[in-house]
């Protein structure tokens, strides 16, 4: 009998403390499987975003460890963590953070070109397909400043998905969107989860969080509940 597959992402006793002594995340242990759609909720300052940055390998825990696809990331250097982020993790932030000098299409191409897994022609085809799937086909050649808020966020999602990551992390992705666009973005996340991609979304909007299949609630950096919304 073969051993059960490890969860895609696991946090074991993760604590994040700032040098000045402030604790952002305290002793968090959780495991997220493939295809899960998780909403991380909690009041302002509860450590939701800090936990997301730790799970996304943008930050390092002060204690505990993060395992991605069963691999302990504690001993990895900055280059190795960057390589993991590039190939396996996609980020979406509250602000779109699109590079203003480049079109939506070129923004989506940036991580693909950096990874260099696909030839440029194929990368372009995939980028256009991603944009099309998000209803952005017509706006592919436009600069971010020529796009609406919702379109910018969709372009940012397309960029996060460029390298076909196993894990998509979103930090308040609807914070700057109206209700209609926010719902549309959550539809996209739900669709991605349905396709088997793991999605973790930090949000303070409980109505939107209710659309996830699992909700992790934080208070003062600690997980106080973890289960169906």
């Amino acid at each position: 009998m073969s051993a059960p597959a490890p969860p895609l992402l696991a946090a074991e006793g993760v604590t994040r403390r700032l040098p000045e002594g402030v604790t952002l995340v305290s002793d968090v242990t959780l495991a997220v499987g493939r295809g899960e759609f998780v909403a991380v909720t909690g009041p302002s300052g509860s450590g939701k975003s800090s936990l997301l940055y730790l799970l996304g390998l943008l930050d390092r825990p002060s204690e505990g460890r993060i395992l991605l696809e069963g691999r302990d990331t504690a001993g990895l250097d900055g280059e190795a963590l960057a390589a993991l982020r590039l190939a396996r993790i996609g980020f979406v932030f509250q602000f779109h953070f699109l590079l203003p000098e480049f079109s939506a299409l070129d923004n989506v191409l940036v991580p693909m070109r950096r990874l260099g897994r696909l030839p440029l022609v194929e990368a372009r085809r995939r980028a256009l397909a991603l944009l099309e799937a998000l209803g952005m086909r017509e706006a592919a050649g436009k600069l971010p400043e020529q796009l609406s808020g919702g379109m910018r966020q969709r372009a940012a999602i397309a960029r996060a998905l460029a390298n076909d990551p196993a894990l998509l992390l979103a930090d308040e992705p609807t914070g700057n969107l109206d209700t209609r666009n926010a719902a549309a973005v959550f539809d996209i996340f739900a669709g991605l989860a349905a396709e088997g991609r793991t999605v973790i979304v930090v949000t303070h909007d409980l109505a939107l969080a209710g659309r996830a299949r699992r909700r992790v609630h934080l208070v003062d950096g600690r997980v106080v509940s973890d289960g169906p919304p």
């Binding site: 943008l58 900055g78 960057a82 590079l99 000098e101 480049f102």
Partner: protein
């Protein structure tokens, strides 16, 4: 790398005006460097080539570098007896065994040597008296060690042999005396000998000091005029490789004992001035490029400051610190390269512009324009310096960008 260059280009293009100002700063520095270096090196090169062409590469003189030790000192070395008022032995001046020394020098590869007797003479023509230095030469040998043959503007060097007591005068000297070729001047030596001498030719070297006060006659004639039969007081040497002059001069002096001076030693004062000139030139143009480098530092720093969010997102996407550092370094280098390219073109234009300038006055050197050097190495040095300065200027902000903590930036933006 292509991606990083595209990103760098995009970021610079976004700040077009500031980028252009920085590029222009570098270009001006490079252009001025090129133009000034071309001017200075042109002048210095011309001057040195004149010296090398006109003067011998090495001169052996009938002097000693340090006065010989007196017999009294030799008899009582470091003794308790002090002998004062000892007069040096009166010896006949001139290079001893000059013929043997000449033969030895001629036997060296790449060396041509000629004997001379130099001496002062008062040249008199009508009511005009002009003091001059007369060089007694053997024309065939002298032609091998100097460019006097090429400098002749009237007559030929060989005419000295065909004319009894012939003399070739510098053009300026002839003008001061008011003589022409064919005229006869009266030469009076410090020994009191008076010789009528017929002007057989005129020369112009371009060096006023020589053209106004020097003349050539046959060695034998000068020996008679100076009343120093069979005496040679200088040996002029010309080398195939002029850079060997100084070491060879030291070698000859060590061997013969006669004071031997290379062209560098004889013109050390000019060469020192050139070193100072070059230091001033490089300091000034270096300062221009330094200011340009500050411009580059400023633009890259500003871009880093403005792009903190982009840096954060690039890092979250998986760009490494090295990628970020290269991205901003590339921007500095791009400004440096663009500035260098533009500066080279501008520098070339400035050189061509300077070349068009005419002073309208014929200088003694026969030049009425700037002497300019067109050497690719000047362009290469200026470009290298500019790109290096740009790179160094960009390193600090690039490192700062690479060390940016994306979490802090994203938190700040939220």
């Amino acid at each position: 790398m292509k991606l990083l260059l595209d990103l760098a280009r995009g970021m610079l293009a976004r700040r077009r005006r500031q980028t252009l100002v920085s590029v222009a700063g570098v270009a001006l520095g490079v252009a001025f460097f090129i133009a000034i270096a071309a001017l200075m090196r042109g002048f210095q090169g011309y001057f040195i080539s004149q010296i090398i062409d006109v003067a011998p590469h090495i001169t052996v003189k009938d002097e000693l570098r340090a006065p010989p030790r007196q017999a009294a000192e030799l008899a009582h070395p470091g003794g308790a007896v002090t002998v004062s008022g000892v007069k040096p032995r009166d010896r006949v001046r001139g290079i001893r065994a000059a013929g043997d020394k000449l033969a030895m020098l001629e036997a060296m590869p790449g060396v041509a040597a000629a004997p001379l007797l130099t001496g002062q003479a008062l040249l008199r023509y009508g009511a005009r008296d002009v003091s001059a230095t007369l060089l007694g030469i053997e024309p065939a040998r002298q032609a091998r060690v100097s460019n006097i043959g090429k400098d002749m503007i009237e007559g030929r060097l060989e005419d000295l042999r065909a004319t009894a007591n012939g003399v070739i005068l510098g053009a300026g000297l002839a003008q001061r005396l008011g003589v022409r070729v064919g005229d006869t001047v009266s030469a009076v030596s410090p020994a009191g000998t008076v010789l009528p001498m017929r002007v057989t030719g005129l020369f112009r070297t371009g060096l006023t000091a020589l053209d106004n006060a020097q003349g050539y006659t046959l060695l034998k004639v000068n020996q008679v005029l100076q009343n120093r039969p069979n005496v040679v007081n200088q040996i002029h040497i010309r080398l195939r490789d002029v850079t060997r002059a100084e070491p060879l001069a030291r070698q000859i002096e060590a061997r013969f004992g006669d004071r031997t001076e290379s062209w560098e030693e004889q013109n050390a004062n000019f060469l020192t001035v050139f070193v100072i000139q070059n230091a001033v030139m490089y300091s000034v143009t270096g300062a221009i490029l330094l200011v340009a480098a500050f411009g580059i530092y400023n633009i890259v720093s500003t871009v880093v400051f403005e792009k903190t969010r982009d840096i954060a997102i690039l890092k979250s996407l998986g760009f490494t610190e090295r990628d970020i550092q290269l991205l901003f370094l590339a921007q500095g280098l791009a400004v440096g390269l663009l500035g260098a390219a533009l500066g080279c073109a501008l520098g070339a234009l400035m050189i061509e512009g300077l070349a068009q300038i005419r002073f309208g006055v014929e200088t003694p050197a026969g030049q009425d324009r700037f002497m300019l050097v067109r050497d690719w190495r000047i362009y290469a040095a200026a470009s290298l310096f500019a790109v290096a300065a740009a790179g160094i200027a960009a390193v600090i902000p690039a490192r700062r960008a690479a060390r940016l903590d994306p979490v802090q930036v994203v938190r700040g933006a939220a």
